[in-house]
């Protein structure tokens, strides 16, 4: 086939080194990740005759993409003009100057449009005035995400099947491109994007962003939000602490966005044993010696000395104010879809912001319904919501009597709570009540990990002891309970692929509720103490 123009002199620098950090967790550690899209974009530009030999390349950058362009321009004989602003690091400025880059620092913000607008105006002038000049435009150039086919290739080569990809989001190229390619063979890949509070990329209100590398206030068109399953926000202080930890624990001297990726990937990995996780570390730490790695400078970082969250807090919408590590189950939706549903939740937000992270459900809590907070949003239709109970909370649901027809299939509540209290793995069993207008109408238990029954495979969640009080029958609460269970798993156990339950073959009422709620029969059966049970499952993922 036709031979393509190649700029591969620096190709060994654009590949990451793969480091196994923990069992199942790998870091893809880059010298300078932006070399990969920069090289690919320039090669494609030459191929399409948009960039002529020795011509001028012009872009607006004060970070890694500019540095990557400068290295490639030096190697392959192009002239480079970079428009920047006063936030340009002075060491980087020196380095760019030594690479013969024409660096133009815009000194004043544009009226009404800030520095971004001023830089864009200046860049346009260069592109107009320099004949044959070429603009790589990484934030909107579709070749940017396409460059990451090579990263997907390398990751599969080194790691094999990948279950989860974690990395910071800037232009969207690396995370969206790599995910899209990895999902061709692995459609179930769980993609986690990392941003910082007050960044607009994932629905936070506009403001000054914190992490270096993540500095824009408009959304690049290369971000395709529907690639993300989950989004995390980390503050500057949290990212810097994580960066130090990555250095201290593994000797990896990386930039702060890599630190943030490590923190989130490590958290997800610990909650999903047996899964392969890859975290992207986009650059090395040298550029940050006077900042992220400097104790004096760090003292000026808000929250540096305060204690940090050990776990992220789940949020019901991405739009609220975030004071620390938080996450949202994005669910591969577009930004518009997420913001539209965030509007529906808006009146409820106050109750969610006090919400405890899912892990704290395991912790001891005072019993009694008064102290309990709702942990899932009300389900549409009948206004039912879920409340996590402790194993001592039988009083909250003991009034739920069953129809005699149902009694033969469901364990009495006394037995259920006695089992919960004697459980060897209380942290793996989660009793819930279904509450409508402050009244408990139903109950079920979710089990995971060590507490799973013998008929369940290791990495699922199972649902048990579902009951809807006889006085509340035929109000759709059974289906509401199923929806809430599904929602709880989606938000709190995003990596779990399916929810299983066992239904007595003779209990047709229950079976119909399950089938109407999206469960399907696995065809498998189990012989329990009260007869043969069908195993039904709800699949979260197409894979």
């Amino acid at each position: 086939m036709a031979s393509k123009p190649l700029m591969r002199n620096l190709v060994d620098f654009e590949n990451p080194r793969i480091i196994e950090l923990n069992d199942g967790l790998c870091g893809a550690s880059f010298f300078l990740m932006k070399l990969l899209p920069a090289r690919f974009i320039l090669e494609r530009a030459v191929e399409q005759r948009a960039l002529k030999i020795g011509a001028s390349i012009c872009d607006s950058s004060s970070g890694n993409f500019g540095l990557a362009l400068a290295m490639l321009a030096a190697q392959h004989g192009y002239k480079l003009t970079l428009v920047s602003d006063p936030s340009l690091d002075r060491h980087l400025h020196t380095r760019l100057a030594q690479l013969n880059v024409h660096v133009d620092v815009v000194s004043k913000p544009a009226r009404g449009g800030g520095f971004q607008q001023a830089r864009s105006e200046r860049l346009n002038r260069y592109l107009r005035e320099i004949p044959g000049s070429y603009w790589p435009a990484p934030h909107s150039n579709p070749d940017n995400p396409l460059a990451y086919a090579k990263l997907a290739e390398l990751l599969i080569d080194r790691v094999g099947k990948i279950d989860c990809l974690v990395g910071p989001v800037g232009s969207g190229g690396s995370m969206c491109g790599t995910s899209r390619y990895l999902r061709v063979p692995f459609p179930g890949l769980h993609t986690i994007g990392i941003d910082s509070p007050k960044s607009v990329l994932f629905g936070q209100l506009s403001g000054k962003r914190q992490l270096s590398g993540l500095e824009r206030s408009i959304i690049p068109s290369n971000i395709n939000h529907s690639h993300f399953d989950e989004v995390h926000w980390l503050t500057q202080a949290e990212a810097f602490h994580a960066t130090h930890r990555l250095h201290r624990d593994y000797g990896l001297f990386m930039g702060p966005t890599g630190g943030a990726a490590y923190r989130v990937a490590n958290w997800w990995s610990q909650r999903n044993p047996g899964k392969k996780v890859v975290a992207i570390f986009p650059d090395e730490g040298h550029r940050y010696i006077e900042t992220v790695y400097n104790e004096d400078w760090l003292r000026s970082v808000p929250g540096w000395r305060e204690s940090l969250r050990e776990q992220p807090v789940p949020v019901a919408a991405p739009t609220g104010e975030l004071t620390g590590w938080s996450y949202f189950a994005w669910g591969r939706r577009t930004l518009d879809q997420v913001l539209a549903s965030a509007m529906e939740y808006a009146p409820l937000r106050s109750s969610f912001e006090n919400r405890l992270p899912p892990q704290s459900i395991k912790q001891k809590r005072p019993s009694g319904a008064m102290h309990l907070k709702p942990i899932t949003p009300p389900s549409e239709g009948c206004g039912a919501r879920l409340i996590a109970l402790s194993r001592f909370d039988d009083a909250a649901v003991i009034h739920l009597k069953l129809d005699p027809e149902q009694e033969q299939f469901v364990d009495p509540l006394e037995v259920v709570f006695s089992d919960l209290r004697n459980s060897s793995w209380p942290e793996c069993e989660h009793p819930f009540s279904i509450v409508v207008r402050d009244e408990a109408v139903g109950f079920f238990v979710l089990r995971e990990k060590m507490a799973l029954p013998e008929w369940a495979p290791p990495d699922v969640i199972t649902l048990h002891s579902l009951r809807v009080g006889s006085t509340h029958q035929r109000s759709g609460y059974g289906e509401a309970a199923m929806r809430l269970a599904v929602q709880w798993v989606l938000v709190n156990r995003p990596a779990v692929a399916c929810l299983l339950l066992a239904a007595n073959v003779r209990n047709l009422t229950a079976r119909n509720v399950y089938l109407r709620s999206g469960f399907c029969d696995t065809g498998a059966t189990y012989c329990g103490p009260v007869g043969t049970q069908n195993i039904l499952k709800y699949i979260f993922d197409s894979e």
């Binding site: 086939m1 393509k4 579709p142 396409l146 290739e153 390619y181």
Partner: protein, 293 residues
């Protein structure tokens, strides 16, 4: 004394596990593929030197095989030798199952056998591509290779042979054939060109680890990409039936009409699952047959 006869045999295939574009060591792109071999589909060629100077072939339509035999004689024999080439084959024609390549390879091997010579697969493939515009990778049975079917060279050789796979064969358009030589090669878009990178890594892992599950993912992805170029009617229905009965994936003839639902021969349930899937396929009006490795 030299024998007056030579015999050669080559097998057919059931389309490809992957077909796309791949970089060589110098980062140049080449079209390449891996065929899914079918050992029970065979072409047998017999070459007989009857003292004539010209070569004749039976059946007469096997002109590419004739060209291949002539090329082989020209390359390896000193004096001009003619004779009679007879080809017998049970490989369906025009389905993308390699009938023509098998005839070509069998003919080359028959002539080499007559000359009492052995040659390397690479040399044989070069002659085959010279006789026919494109070729498949069935000759490489000891070691799986990613083969440049239009240029006749090995893009990448893997550590192991292909793992054994059982499959259900479905001809999606039994009344239509595809002429491989007239068929226009796929023009991949930039995203598709990229997809073959991770798929190649996965293919390497699948073959090196004999992981048929990963191989199924590769084949399915390649089959889906091919839908833009030579769509297989009801591929989605076939995939859905496969998913219901534990198939590893689906593979297609990228320049043919057949589709294969792949199963793991090492799994006990596979036989039963294949029967169930065949039953479902018949119920939607298809005519499947089982190919066991």
């Amino acid at each position: 004394m030299r024998a007056t006869e030579g015999r050669g045999e080559a097998i057919g295939h059931h389309g490809e596990l992957i077909q796309g574009v791949f970089e060589d060591q110098n980062a140049r792109l080449h079209r390449g593929l891996i065929s899914l071999p079918c050992r029970h589909l065979k072409s047998t060629a017999n070459f007989k030197n009857n003292g004539e100077e010209r070569l004749s072939v039976t059946p007469q339509h096997c002109q590419k095989a004739k060209r291949a035999a002539e090329l082989t004689l020209k390359t390896f024999a000193r004096s001009s030798i003619g004779g009679r080439l007879t080809i017998k084959s049970n490989i369906p024609i025009g389905r993308g199952m390699g009938s023509s390549t098998a005839d070509v390879l069998a003919s080359i091997l028959a002539v080499l056998n007559y000359l009492d010579l052995e040659s390397t697969p690479h040399r044989i493939m070069a002659i085959a591509v010279g006789a026919e515009a494109a070729c498949d990778s069935t000759l490489f049975s000891q070691q799986a290779v990613l083969f440049s079917h239009r240029e006749g060279f090995v893009i990448e050789a893997f550590r192991n042979p292909l793992p054994a796979i059982d499959f259900i064969s479905i001809d999606t358009t039994p009344n239509q054939t595809v002429d491989t030589l007239v068929f226009k090669p796929a023009q991949y878009d930039p995203f598709e060109v990229g997809v073959f990178r991770p798929l190649r890594s996965l293919l390497r892992r699948a073959i090196d680890d004999s992981d048929v599950g990963l191989l199924g993912r590769v084949a399915t992805a390649s089959a889906r990409i091919n839908e833009r170029f030579l769509p297989k009617p009801r591929l989605f229905d076939i995939e859905a039936i496969g998913a219901r009965h534990g198939a590893l994936g689906v593979q297609v003839a990228h320049s043919g009409t057949v589709v294969g639902l792949m199963f793991d021969p090492a799994k006990e349930r596979s036989t039963e699952n294949m029967d169930l899937a065949m039953c479902d396929l018949r119920n939607i009006g298809l005519n499947p047959s089982a190919f066991r490795h």
